[in-house]
């Protein structure tokens, strides 16, 4: 996505989101998502 290999109508939004999350951000949000009921 960041380098343009991943493409789709909503990619521009996600490109900016995934560009700069810190490791702590990724750990926190992934732990949060895992804690939710599917």
């Amino acid at each position: 996505m960041k380098t343009g290999n991943r493409a789709g109508p909503w990619v521009e939004l996600m490109k900016q989101v995934v560009a700069k999350p810190s490791d702590d951000d990724m750990i926190a949000l992934s732990a949060y998502l895992e804690s939710l009921d599917p």
Binding site: M1, R6, W10, M14, Q16, A28, E34
Partner: protein
């Protein structure tokens, strides 16, 4: 004659396939020239004690949390995002992680999987869920 008809059908198939790749109904895009969202009228949802204006609902850095009692405390990246361009995750994937029709359902996915996917997105190894445009 039959061969000619069959050949014509095969010739048209790729065109039909291309047209069906990204149908507008499946990939709606927000129109560019629309008025600013209303910032006066409060809206609510069944079973929610929260009220938001459309402007608040559309805020990418503080999206609505209609049912705060139904999820644990959100980390900052989920609730508020990172200005100027890192929208809050909850704007598209919702506080429940269930997402809108156009965004992924992430609720309950294993943490290592999410970390791997985000890392893959940074290095372009993630696979698209929609065909390229």
């Amino acid at each position: 004659m039959r061969r000619l008809i069959a050949a014509s059908i095969f010739a048209v198939l790729p065109v039909l396939a291309l047209a069906a790749d990204n149908p507008d109904w499946a990939y709606p895009v927000t129109p560019r020239d629309r008025p600013p969202p209303d910032a006066v009228v409060l809206k609510t949802l069944p079973g929610s004690s929260k009220q938001y204006t459309q402007a608040q609902i559309d805020d990418p850095f503080n999206p609505p949390d209609w049912y705060p009692e139904q999820h644990p405390p959100m980390p900052p990246s989920v609730a508020k995002g990172t200005r100027p361009a890192g929208n809050a995750c909850a704007q598209c994937h919702l506080t429940s992680g269930n997402g809108h029709p156009e965004s992924s359902d992430l609720a309950g996915l294993p943490a290592p999987y999410i970390v791997r996917q985000m890392a893959a997105s940074r290095t372009a190894n993630a696979k698209a869920s929609a065909p390229p445009t």
